[in-house]
Amino acid sequence: MKINRVLIEDTFAEAFPMKATRLVITAADKTWADNAARALTGFATSVIACGCEAGIERYLKPNETPDGRVGVSVLLFTMSKKELIKQVQNRVGQCVLTSPTSACFAGIEDGPEVPLGKALRFFGDGFQIAKVFNGRRFWRVPVMDGEFLCDDVTHITNGIGGGNFLILARDQQAALRASERAIVAMNKVPGAIMPFPGGVVRSGSKVGSKYKALPASTNHKFCPTLRGAVNSELDKNVGAVLEIVIDGVTSQAIDEATRVGIIAACRGRDHGVLKISAGNYGGNLGPHHFKLRQILK
């Protein structure tokens, strides 16, 4: 299969079940909503060492948020419910509660609970106020610029982490531009995030390492500078490979993000993209397989 002269390899991305939640962060204007959301989703590229994977899902108009202000929808993914609870508390407490004019709401209404205001209210030192409407409890915590408004809890849904595809290009610039095109298109897909910097990762990893302490190490088969020295997956024309990792609240969201991302990466005349592939572990590790050719049919 080829798209705009780019070979789509007959392979699949192997992904894993994760626990996910969505938060809606609002603020007085888009700048401050964005500041809070970027702080919350910072240092959240991979569960390997960040505790969670998180990213901005999309920007929200005032009529889409509970308090009628502009907002940002963010998604957080972890490997366990316990870790998700910890990450939500720490990140909302340190990054959203602290951000001027912010408020934080649950973005998922069903499923097991993750404490939000339920835990953060104690910052109010007894001056916090609860308000319950139709069974939904809000907390109002007094802060120096007014009030921090927060839902009592958000909820957990079963998400999927580790959807991915690889852009094999003739050089670094071509790989970078293709990745940028892909990310612009993928950012429009609801329910999916690309947690790495700018949505792109250059240090694709394999499981394990020759060093016992490391759970993951460089994916040497896709490193162009090791071609000739190892059993490389790259032919002589490939000068750079970039990976786009996708986490989604549904498999359909990952399918769609993969589809629009690959099509965008292959767009243009002199795009320099030679092949699209995907990372997997032989199908033995993750139960979710995203087959590239099937998705692009």
Partner: protein, 268 residues
């Protein structure tokens, strides 16, 4: 099912047994034989009401007046619709369902309410939502909407829920309130929120109350949430409350922690 009053005893009559769940599936003859208390006497329902139709989810009471006591008391499901007035203790101890009255209600409406929705088209008497006799807790969840005025001591010891009063409220509104939301579109009288610990009053004008301190005019994201939730509860509020980002805020009762608030909002 429709029950039309023919001859209400002067001593009044306790209508607590009339609720959809209790009447569902019963034949009209059986319903006519239900015994109702009238003072020290017991009378058959059929002697007081003309019974029509079958009860599924709704009971409609027609031509009743203030002598009909405890209408909708203990209601757990279904609807009771009243064309006329109801007497004291209507909706007492209701935990779910809807009680809708076209006319006025007597004292102790919604006492011990723990859920459901009560709508009164006219006025309500004293002690609306106040603890039932022998009890210490006021409204604990549920919604009460009164289109007219209410008497004294309304929503005393309220713990949760929403009370909306389109008219004016008497003295001691929300006294010793613990939490919940009270909206008054008309005026309030003396001793507003006396002894309240927490909770929210949404008023269109502030009656000076010695236990309250002016807190300032604030832009609160909570206001939009409050207004939209109140509109869900009572859509007609859209016409009477201007959706502003700011509200004048008072805190009280300062003798009891001062965490209760009065939000003074604008009329459109």
């Amino acid at each position: 099912m429709r029950l039309t009053a023919r001859d209400i005893p002067p001593a009044g009559i306790d209508l607590m047994p009339i609720c959809p769940a209790a009447l569902a599936g019963l034949s009209i003859d059986t319903i006519r034989k239900i015994r109702l208390s009238s003072g020290a006497k017991r009378v058959a329902l059929g002697d007081v009401f003309e019974v029509e139709g079958h009860c599924e989810d709704t009971v409609e009471l027609r031509r009743i007046d203030r002598r009909c006591l405890r209408v909708g008391a203990g209601l757990e499901q279904g609807q009771i619709r009243v064309r006329g007035d109801v007497g004291d203790e209507a909706g007492r101890g209701m935990s779910n369902g809807v009680l809708k009255v076209s006319g006025n209600a007597g004292d102790s409406l919604a006492s011990g309410l723990s859920g459901g929705r009560i709508e009164i088209g006219g006025d309500a008497g004293d002690h609306l939502g106040a603890p039932a006799r022998g009890q210490t807790k006021g409204i604990n969840r549920g919604v009460v909407i009164v289109k007219g005025n209410v008497g004294n001591h309304a929503a005393a010891r309220m713990r949760r829920g929403v009370v909306v009063i389109h008219g004016s409220a008497g003295t001691y509104l929300g006294e010793r309130m613990i939490a919940g939301t009270i909206v008054v579109l008309g005026s309030t009288d003396r001793h507003l929120g006396t002894g309240m610990r927490r909770g929210t009053f949404v008023l269109t004008e502030m009656a000076k109350s010695p236990g309250f301190a002016e807190n300032g005019n604030y832009e609160l994201p909570f206001l939009k949430v409050l207004f939209s939730q109140l509109e869900n509860i009572d859509p007609s509020l859209r016409k009477y409350i201007k959706k502003t980002k700011t509200a004048q805020r008072w805190l009280g009762d300062l003798a009891h922690g001062g965490l209760g608030e009065v939000l003074v909002v604008e009329k459109p």
